[in-house]
């Protein structure tokens, strides 16, 4: 039996996240009420697990750290076909940087107990650091391959994967148990089915707090984070004085072609 853990994150809806802005006067964030959704790249991590489950006897555990509302995205993964959901939620986990996040998730994975393959999206849409997967691997003492775009060979305990590199790929061989962070190219995530949603109603989510994880409050959340935000500054964007080219469509194309000729493009 292949035990798969998929780490997922609830992120502010990327379609609305651009509305979160710094208030130049108070230097705090404005419009933080953006709804939470499943991080887009984590859908590909989930899909990778589901495709393995279609091939092999496998059990999929989904793990997330976040506020209680993040339970919704764990539910969503259960509806997609995961077998068991876990949410690490405790006020003490708040304010975690990538290091403290990976540390806490690694503790969660240890508590889940059996894992052969751990999938993460290569990055989250809000933080975008790409650190969590490799740091989880380090805390668990496991090998990792980041930016996986193709699983070439996954029959035995030694896998071969293609990882993305600029203008090409890196072929890597890795022994399980191992961590993989996945790119969009790996697969096309399925969408939720009605029957999946019905089945997920019967599945439970385990909620684990600080005490249940058995870690000290010093090593998680803001306190366990080596990095902190020291300052938040509103920035004058590179403003330019724009000349809007107006007229009929033909006049506009004429004017723009002229400008491009002047600029030496044509």
């Amino acid at each position: 039996m292949l035990n798969i853990v998929v780490c997922v994150k609830a992120v502010p809806d990327p379609k609305e996240a651009c509305n979160i802005k710094i208030d130049p006067d108070t230097k705090t964030l404005l419009r933080c009420d953006v709804p939470l959704v499943l991080n887009p790249l984590d859908k590909h991590a989930m899909e990778a697990a589901l495709q393995l489950k279609a091939q092999f006897e496998a059990r999929i555990s989904v793990l997330s750290m976040g506020p209680p509302e993040a339970g919704n995205i764990v539910k969503e993964c259960l509806a997609l076909g995961a077998d068991q959901g876990y949410l690490l939620s405790d006020p003490a986990f708040g304010g975690a940087d990538a290091y403290a996040t990976a540390f806490t998730l690694a503790k969660g994975i240890r508590k889940i107990g059996s894992f052969d393959v751990i999938f993460c999206g290569m990055a989250s849409s809000d933080g975008s650091t790409e650190w969590v997967g490799p740091e989880i691997a380090t805390f668990l003492g496991l090998p990792v391959v980041t930016l996986v775009k193709k699983i070439v060979e996954c029959k035995g305990a030694s896998w071969i994967v293609k990882a993305s590199v600029e203008n090409g790929y890196r072929l890597a061989q890795v022994k399980l148990p191992a961590v993989f962070t996945v790119t969009r190219e790996l697969n096309t995530p399925r969408t939720l089915s009605f029957s999946g949603i019905i089945k997920a109603r019967k599945k439970d989510i385990d909620h684990w707090s600080l005490d249940e994880l058995g870690v000290s409050s010093e090593s998680v959340g803001l306190k366990g984070s080596p990095t902190i935000v020291s300052e938040l500054n509103a920035q004058e964007e590179n403003k330019r004085q724009v000349e809007i080219l107006t007229g009929t469509r033909e006049e506009k194309t004429d004017m723009l072609v002229q400008k491009l000729v002047e600029a030496g493009v044509i």
Partner: protein, 335 residues
């Protein structure tokens, strides 16, 4: 050199014995920081037959290069590279480690940071020492600039993309020390790079292009996107994209411009169907002429360009492409 501060490090990278430009750019930053701290710039460079790139690091400002020179280091090997960097850093305890956000750096940096139990900041666009000489690692976010610090743990670690910082002028008369390092042999061997294949990129490369046509979510669908590609083709421009265009699967990740993508510095930039979000715009450095095509006259992109067209790109682009073709034809017959 009498100093309270340990060295500033760069983990450099070579591909086929050619130094990555970002490594040299980070040596420039390390030099600036080390001078303020009164300390040395040191680099780690791993590969095979790489004495020449090691000397290049010294010419760019490094005082010492830890050189791992062996056939098994020719390409990035995660276990070996991590172990070497972690061993050296544990021994030497540098103050700061800078790494380029290349495909290797993005994996190696968190592996090294987690082993050293320290913080790591991604996508920095500026490095400044504060009053206590702590490194402020600045990243663009939420329409402003965040300063991230790692006040207690050492080293302070950060990554930055190629092209964010200028490449220092090489000074071949600079001298520095090259220290050959031992290569660990007691590795678990659980992950191995079998091969790395790189192809010649197609079309005009973004980083060096003098004209860039970048498209965004406003393309609407793959057909709308094809118009943007065609505009780039008729202008002999490089094609760039925003994150939504990559997310939709219209564009390759390699074409994304911005904070978590590429940094570009074209002469002329034409943004089509994109809103001018900060995370995209920070990727465009010093363009002489900026043009935007967007159907919303209130879009923030119009505050950041020299010429604006308010129109539906799906209707405007075919007309524009036609016009450009006609112009080129006329030009050719006149010549």
């Amino acid at each position: 050199m009498g100093t309270d501060h340990r060295a500033v490090w760069v983990i450099a990278e070579q591909i086929n014995c050619h130094l990555q430009s970002v490594s040299l750019q980070l040596i420039g930053q390390a030099r600036k920081l080390a001078d303020q701290l009164g300390t040395l710039v040191e680099a780690i460079l791993l590969g095979d037959k790489i004495e020449q790139p090691a000397r290049q690091l010294i010419a760019a400002g490094a005082d010492r290069v830890y050189l791992g020179n062996a056939p098994e280091l020719e390409v990035y090997q995660p276990e070996l590279y991590t172990q070497i960097a972690v061993n050296l850093a544990s021994e030497q305890q540098p103050e700061i480690i800078l790494i380029g956000s290349t495909d290797m750096g993005r994996e190696l940096a968190p592996l090294v940071a987690a082993h050293l139990k320290t913080g790591l900041t991604a996508h920095c666009i500026d490095f400044v020492l504060d009053k206590e000489l702590i490194l402020e690692q600045r990243i663009p976010a939420y329409g402003g600039l965040l300063s991230i610090v790692c006040p207690e743990k050492r080293p302070q670690m950060a990554t930055a993309a190629k092209g964010v910082f200028a490449t220092p002028e090489p000074d071949d008369s600079r001298t520095g020390e090259i220290v050959l390092i031992d290569i660990p042999t007691d590795l678990p061997g659980r992950v191995k790079t079998l091969e790395i294949i790189r192809e010649e990129p197609q079309g005009v490369p973004l980083e060096t292009a003098s004209t860039i046509v970048a498209g965004g979510a406003g393309a609407g669908d793959i057909d709308g996107w094809k118009d943007i590609c065609e505009l780039a083709a008729v202008l002999n421009a490089a094609l760039g994209s925003t994150r939504p265009a990559v997310d939709e699967g219209w564009a390759e990740l390699e074409t994304m411009i911005g904070q978590s993508g590429k940094m570009v510095s074209p002469e002329v930039y034409i943004g089509v169907g994109l809103s001018g979000e900060q995370q995209h715009m920070v990727g465009i450095v010093g363009a002489r002429v900026m043009v935007a095509i967007n159907n919303d006259d209130k879009s923030p992109i119009f505050e950041q360009v020299d010429y604006g067209i308010v129109d539906d790109c799906r209707k405007f682009l075919p007309a524009l492409i036609e016009q450009i073709k006609q112009y080129e034809e006329k030009k050719n017959t006149c010549e």
